[in-house]
């Protein structure tokens, strides 16, 4: 059993290493066209080892070390992403569960088609529409995410609501959809039939037998959404003029500030790898088939 668990984890570590590696390939292709060509591995290793020691190089534009900028921006982005995530995970799952429990009824149609529609809208489109509604016409929320200096937790939260909404919408449909199909599969399963025919009350059937099996796949999917979330951050942070990792990369790319760009992208790779690792860990904890393996 321990052996099986050990087999699952190294796979993830490999992916964790490959994430940044691929980033480097992309960056390297870039270097090549600009003539900054050195042996890939040497460059990679020296850069990586510096990075690990906290030395991210010096910004071309600001003429100062990159690290503080990146760390600051990452912190800001995390706040924004956290607000979106904290909202979307429970609400998305709930939406999917409710839709599945009302399969093919109007409520399901509304959640499914509504979810599908908001998921596929580009963040800047929903962003613009939300700004118009809540910022310009109703004037309930600030249209910029830049909060006043030394704003407290709740003030910051207030400024983050509008920017986090487009991210919320994109993820909502996705998560709800996964949760819904997981639920439908679990509801149609033989073990649910067994539970119902045991005479268990419907609530117990859902809570004890259906939900856990239904939501397992959703958990892994949520983690893979980190990538899309970061892409979304680039757009949202630009639209709302917010100092996060997305706008940092955007500015660095426009200004051809390569140390900044590389560090930003490597940081994203690491965040992504960590998120995937957490999801795999959660999945194996929740799934006895992976945790325990088979005795046979």
């Amino acid at each position: 059993m321990v052996f099986l668990g050990g087999q699952v984890l190294p796979g993830n570590v490999g992916r964790a290493i490959l994430g940044p590696f691929a980033d480097q390939r992309a960056v390297d292709a870039l270097n090549h066209t600009l003539g900054v060509d050195r042996p890939l591995l040497t460059q990679y290793w020296s850069w990586i080892s510096n990075f690990v020691q906290g030395d991210m190089g010096t910004s071309y534009i600001f003429r100062s070390p990159v690290a503080p900028f990146v760390i600051d921006a990452l912190g800001n982005s995390m706040k924004l992403a956290a607000v979106a995530f904290v909202l979307v995970v429970p609400i998305g799952i709930l939406g999917g569960v409710i839709a599945a429990l009302n399969l093919n009824r109007p409520l399901d149609r509304i959640i499914s088609l509504g979810g599908l529609s908001v998921t596929v809208l580009p963040e800047f489109v929903t962003g613009i529409i939300l700004i118009l509604i809540f910022g310009v016409w109703l004037r309930w929320l600030p249209i910029s995410a830049a909060w006043p200096k030394d704003a407290g937790f709740f003030i910051q939260l207030y400024y983050l609501i509008l920017p986090s909404l487009p991210l919320f919408l994109v993820l909502f449909g996705y998560i709800a959809r996964m949760a819904r199909s997981g639920m439908i599969e679990a509801l149609d399963s033989d073990y649910t039939r067994t539970a119902v025919l045991k005479g268990l009350p419907w609530r117990t059937v859902i809570w004890r037998h259906v939900l856990r099996n239904a939501l397992l796949p959703t958990i892994t999917v949520i983690a893979t959404q980190t990538g899309y979330l970061i892409g979304g951050l680039v757009v949202i942070e630009t639209l709302f003029r917010y100092q996060g990792i997305g706008s940092l990369i955007f500015t660095a790319a426009r200004g051809k500030d390569f140390p900044m760009l590389e560090s930003g992208i490597l940081t994203i790779g690491i965040v992504y790898a960590v998120a995937t690792l957490i999801a795999d860990f959660l999945y194996s904890v929740l799934n006895p088939r992976i945790r325990l393996g088979s005795d046979q």
């Binding site: 025919l197 268990l200 856990r212 397992l216 088939r289």
Partner: protein, 682 residues
């Protein structure tokens, strides 16, 4: 257990009609079905796929799929009208008076909850919690003969074998001492020896508990052994009903008569005559039926049968009450054969083997451990001969077939010779002539036939590649081939999905025969088919063999089928040949103790109760086979430490009959005498 006075009948269905809504139309599945199961009675419901058996079960517990609806009739469970129950009363009925066990126990148990919890939650419904519930669960597991219940309670379903899972499912079903137990194909998909154990368990529990049983199965033999009364379902209608023994020995509906004739029984062999078949096809779900549903396929049918629905005639006599839905019930057994029995005498197999296999091994790596799927297999096969491969899951029979065909390369060392020439281990390295000489008919035609291609393309491509034909020659050969498997031109333009299972298997057979093969491997070619279709396919295979002088390697878990077609049998266990010899000798014995157990495990229609041999425990894992004789852990005839320490050789006991056992042949003969006498073909 709640009502002091029990209703007279455990279950009553009255004029039950059920339909499924498909593509905006209601399609009838059950048509005015009435049946009654008395207290403590075991009632068997048999029928082929699509006849509505499982729908009966799901209707009784009100768990029809979303598109299913009860369009008429009444269900009374222990005197309660099931259709009138509100949600809470229905829940209580399910908790207290009716339980269900179905096929595929691996899916019926919740994968993420421990066995113990899945059991105790049932007792909690009755207000028994904590230690008391745990004790009850342990007692229940003991009752279904599970050893070491406390450790099993701590496990998850995937950590148990199929047989154990089904025992747990039965324990769950019986936990609240229901008055009605519904078993829907409870042993389908289990290995023969495991199936026998589970069936024994159910029979024993019947003695101990009071539950009435509704036993649903496609397997007539299983029902005949388990049930007091039987109902035969055809197109959602009851066509015949009566005491089990009477119905199976003296059937009064042409469908029952025909169904029983389709089964190879009593050691019937291909050279003794063809099996009878049922012409035509089952009416599809929701078909409009005017008159008798079976009329289209019945040689006794007249105009009245086609226009007027026959009533259920009551034909009770001193043997009990029985019913038949046939105008001609009095002459049902005079139903003419649909296929003549006579066969042309087969040519005597030549002495020179077409295939010679020596020392074949296959080792897979499974999580870093070697898994010996096939170990040291040697055998030969003569032209026109059929070798039957018999064994349970993990015996290596399918792997062996793939090794022969070159789909999987064997370990270095072994040899395969085709007509005296060594075959390369890998398919790519074999010559075109060698490839076309050995072909296969797979178990599942849906998987074996490319669903994007038309039947014409499927067979035509095989003719082009294997027979090297083009143009008019190809066209002519295609027509011949299509006719020889009894398909018609109508079938050529369509895709496989538009054909029924039996027709698809004919296409697969035609394809295998495209290049005039010397050997055709048949890997469970009829196990996905209904009995009536199976008979036609077996006849076809026998006819083609007689005509083409082709050899078969015939893999099947159904011993009756294997016996019908095979001249020679090899019994495999954990990748080893335990016994190999002429078919009749292997079946009649003396045989290897494993063969003996396997034969004893098969439910038979003509049950003459003999001392049954049951194997303990599970089939061991091939990654960690037992030391010495691999069968010693389950062998009822184990003689001592030698079995655990030394692997017996496959020794020739009689000319051409070899057995891998430490017990001398004469001793086996003495031990098996009574049992052997009972299985000699009539």
């Amino acid at each position: 257990m709640t009502e002091p006075a029990k209703a007279k009948n455990a279950l009553e269905l009255k004029d039950l009609s059920v339909a499924y809504r498909v593509a905006g139309r209601n399609r009838a599945v059950l048509r005015n079905l009435s049946l009654t199961i008395g207290q403590g009675e075991a009632y068997g419901l048999v029928g082929e796929s699509g006849c509505g058996k499982s729908t009966v079960a799901l209707t009784v517990v009100r768990y029809l799929p979303r598109n299913g609806l009860i369009s008429g009739g009444a269900i009374s469970l222990d005197g309660q009208d099931v259709m009138k129950l509100d949600a809470e009363a229905l829940r209580r009925a399910r908790a207290e008076s009716v339980s269900m066990v179905y096929q595929d126990p691996g899916k019926a148990l919740n994968p993420s909850i421990r066995i113990g919890r899945q059991l105790t939650e049932i007792f909690e419904l009755g207000g028994i919690t904590g230690q008391a519930a745990t004790d009850r669960a342990v007692a229940m597991l003991n009752r279904v003969r599970i050893s070491d219940p406390p450790s099993v309670m701590q496990r998850y379903p995937h950590q148990l074998s199929g047989g154990m899972q089904q025992r747990v499912a039965i324990a769950m079903a019986l936990a609240n001492d229901p008055s009605m137990l519904i078993l829907d194909e409870p042993t389908t998909g289990l290995d023969a020896t495991v199936e026998a154990e589970v069936l024994d368990l159910i029979a024993q529990l019947r003695q101990e508990l009071s539950a009435s049983i509704l036993f649903i199965s496609h397997n007539l033999a299983v029902v005949s052994n388990m049930c007091d009364r039987v109902g035969v379902l055809y197109a959602g209608m009851l066509v015949e009903e009566g005491p089990t023994e009477v119905v199976f020995n003296d059937p009064r509906h042409p469908y029952t008569v025909a169904l029983l004739r389709c089964l190879p029984r009593g050691g019937q062999r291909k050279d003794q005559g063809r099996l009878d078949t049922i012409p035509g096809f089952l009416p599809g779900i929701g078909a409009t039926i005017k008159g008798c549903a079976f009329a289209d396929r019945c040689a006794l049918a007249d105009d009245r049968c086609r226009t007027e629905l026959p009533p259920l005639y009551e034909l009770s006599d001193e043997r009990g009450k029985r019913l038949s839905r046939c105008f001609h019930h009095d002459k049902a057994q005079a139903l003419p054969r649909a296929t003549p029995a006579d066969v042309a005498p087969a040519p005597k197999p030549a002495a020179v083997p077409v295939l010679r296999v020596a020392g074949l091994n296959k080792t897979y790596a499974s999580h870093g451990h070697p898994l010996r799927a096939v170990k040291d297999v040697s055998l030969d096969l003569r032209p026109g001969e059929t070798l039957g491969l018999v064994g349970e899951s993990g015996s290596g029979k399918t792997t062996f077939a793939r090794l022969l065909l070159g789909l999987v390369p064997p370990d270095a060392g072994g040899t395969i010779e085709l007509e005296g020439k060594a075959l390369a281990p890998k398919l790519e390295n074999r010559g075109d002539d060698q490839v076309k000489a050995m072909q296969i008919v797979f178990q599942n035609p849906d998987s074996a036939l490319n669903r994007s291609h038309s039947i014409r393309h499927l067979i035509g491509r095989a003719l082009k590649r294997l027979a090297g034909l083009r143009g008019a020659a190809l066209e002519a050969r295609l027509n011949d081939l299509v006719r020889s498997v009894r398909l018609t031109d109508r079938h050529l333009a369509v895709k496989p999905r538009q054909l029924s299972g039996g027709l698809k298997q004919r296409v697969a057979i035609a394809r295998a025969f495209a290049g005039d093969p010397r050997i055709v491997v048949c890997d469970e070619p009829t196990s996905a088919l209904d009995v009536s279709v199976q008979a036609a396919i077996l006849n076809l295979l026998a006819d083609l063999q007689a005509k083409e002088d082709v050899s078969y390697i015939f893999i099947s878990h159904d011993l009756g089928v294997v016996r019908y077609l095979s001249d020679k049998i090899a019994v495999l266990y954990l990748g080893r040949i335990m016994e190999i010899g002429p078919s009749e000798e292997v079946f009649s014995g003396p045989h290897h103790p494993y063969t003996e157990a396997l034969l004893s495990a098969v439910p038979k229609l003509d049950q003459t109760e003999t001392a049954r041999i049951r194997l303990d425990g599970e089939i061991p894992s091939a990654t960690n086979p037992p030391s010495g004789c691999v069968f010693h852990t389950r062998c009822p005839r184990k003689i001592g430490p030698i079995c655990e320490q030394q692997e017996p050789p496959l020794a020739e006991a009689q000319p051409g009959h070899s057995i891998r056992c430490h017990i001398p042949y004469a001793e086996l003969r003495r031990l098996q005498k009574p049992a052997a006498a009972a299985t000699v073909p009539a």
